[in-house]
């Protein structure tokens, strides 16, 4: 039975979070989000011209995300540079996580590019990337209904926890690893992915846990944004 967490945290306790806005001067918006040892950088460019032309939508702008791990960002072997199936999938679900809050109707035929780079990884990189990206989009002055906060929650043996580390993901027991992104004000879910098994009750409780955790993350995101102008 997994009673005490490997790093001594309480079940609902997040790792230490740091965030900063405006880290890439040339971008329209940018942010860094660090949770535990995981560090994500994000930069936003746009709305700008979209090529190829057939992708253009005359009704609204397009959101395009690109997630990438730096070659030295893993604790094991060097990560091969370039697009992998994994990074493609994460880029795609990141778009899905951010698009619901973004209003690009004023920018037909254009694109907003979001580039996410993982500098150091210890699980939860897609969630950290989404947190950084939503701050960068706000920093770019785009119209948004809400920010997006994201965290991994799950179950290790019988215990429900938030913000799993790599060690916990690899725990020798039954693990459910659920990545969730939430619009913090209204509590709506914009990203949901799970590896492992869980029953309905465990999922319902995990969503509750994620919502609470995302409120805490939201506070850090808000603070970092406001710090840019104080």
């Amino acid at each position: 039975m997994y009673n005490k967490r490997l790093d001594g945290r309480k079940a609902d306790e997040l790792r230490t979070i740091k965030a900063r806005v405006g880290i890439v001067k040339r971008a329209d918006g940018s942010a860094m989000f660090q949770i535990g040892k995981t560090i994500a950088l994000a930069a936003v460019y746009g709305p700008r011209q979209l090529h190829p032309k057939f992708l253009q939508n005359p009704k609204m702008g397009l959101l395009r995300c690109n997630y990438n791990m730096m070659s030295f960002s893993g604790s094991g072997e060097r990560v091969r540079p370039g697009t992998s199936r994994r990074s493609k999938e994460i880029s795609y679900v990141t778009e899905g996580a951010l698009a619901p809050v973004l209003d690009l109707e004023e920018y037909p035929n254009t694109v907003v590019d979001v580039f996410i780079e993982i500098l150091q990884s210890d699980s939860g990189t897609r969630c950290a990337g989404i947190c950084a990206a939503s701050m960068a989009l706000a920093d770019a002055g785009l119209k948004m209904k809400d920010l997006v906060s994201a965290v991994a929650v799950g179950r290790i043996d019988g215990k429900l926890v938030v913000d799993l580390t790599k060690e916990e993901e690899d725990y020798d027991g039954e693990v459910a690893d659920i990545a969730i992104a939430i619009t913090p004000r209204t509590g709506e879910i914009t990203l949901l992915q799970m590896d492992g098994f869980a029953n309905k009750e465990e999922l319902a409780k995990s969503f509750e846990n994620a919502k609470e955790a995302c409120k805490k993350i939201w506070e850090v995101q808000k603070k970092a944004l406001k710090e840019k102008y104080t």
Binding site: N66, R78, D122
Partner: protein, 274 residues
């Protein structure tokens, strides 16, 4: 000032901006008030910025320009003509995150040139690294040092920032443990052994605009450059690598002047790596 424009593309065809840079350079003036031979004042090197994943890492800032470099290791079979030596493999990525001018996709020729001319050639030809010390077992196993450098913000003179960051990351790096029995690297155990460095080769890029030469160019100055020369020097002042760029020729006299300036500036920047 000369700070690049937020979000907008670097303007290749910008008649009056070029005209302005030219008219300043003629009077030996620059957009941000520096002298021709002067680097931006705020240069910083920060080590171990990815402590939990990279075996070595560093961040270099020159003004608003920022790059980061990280080191990983691999164990390879030595090349037959160098059976007792390890090697380095260098990569540079000009991230689309760092400038609206950079596009997504495999490294373009600019990135490839930087990787080969600034990182690889500087470190290899200078014999900066004791390649023999990278040998694990002659003819069978040797360490390869994998150096990757990424641009984070391009505000001019990425080349020198990339060169410095690669060096700083190599200096910072510690070998992981190699498990002889399993014949693989054991990343769980962080090592303490550092890479044996014999020399610190400093690359300095000198650009030529009209008949003037200058260092540490801003983006607008890079746009106006007729020619560029990256000169890598050792502590003794000896030159260990050269790379000319641009579509304009240089006279031997000019080239020597540019090398002179690079030697002088190399000495200054060397202090930062101590």
């Amino acid at each position: 000032m000369g700070s690049p424009e937020k979000g907008t593309k670097g303007e290749i065809h910008m008649n009056i901006i070029k005209k302005h840079v030219y008219s300043l350079i003629e009077k030996e003036e620059r957009l941000d008030g520096r002298k021709l031979e002067e680097f931006r004042k705020d240069i910083s090197i920060e080590y171990d910025i990815s402590p939990n994943s990279a075996e070595g890492s560093a961040r270099v800032k020159i003004g608003e320009t920022e790059v980061i470099a990280g080191i990983k290791f691999d164990v390879i079979k030595p090349y037959p003509d160098d059976p007792d030596k390890g090697t380095i493999i260098a990569g540079v990525e000009l991230l689309p995150l760092s400038s609206p001018d950079f596009e997504n996709g495999p490294p373009n020729i600019k990135a490839v040139e930087l990787a080969r001319a600034v990182v690889d050639r500087g470190l290899r030809e200078s014999q900066a690294i004791d390649f023999k010390s990278l040998c694990i077992k002659k003819e069978e196993k040797a360490w390869a040092i994998l150096i990757d450098v990424y641009s984070i913000n391009d505000a001019g003179n990425l080349a020198d920032a990339i060169g410095l960051a690669a060096l700083a990351a190599v200096k910072d790096a510690k070998f992981p443990k190699y498990d002889e029995k399993k014949e693989k690297i054991d990343y769980e155990k962080k090592g303490t052994k550092k890479i044996s460095i014999k020399e610190i080769p400093i690359p300095i890029t000198v650009i030529k605009i009209k008949d003037k030469i200058l260092v540490d160019p801003l983006l607008e100055e890079e746009e106006c450059a007729d020619a560029r020369l990256t000169v890598t020097t050792l502590e003794s002042g000896r030159v260990c690598a050269l790379q000319k760029g641009g579509n304009v020729s240089l006279t031997p006299e000019e080239t020597i002047k540019m090398i002179d300036l690079a030697i002088k500036k190399g000495k200054e920047l060397r202090k930062l790596l101590k």
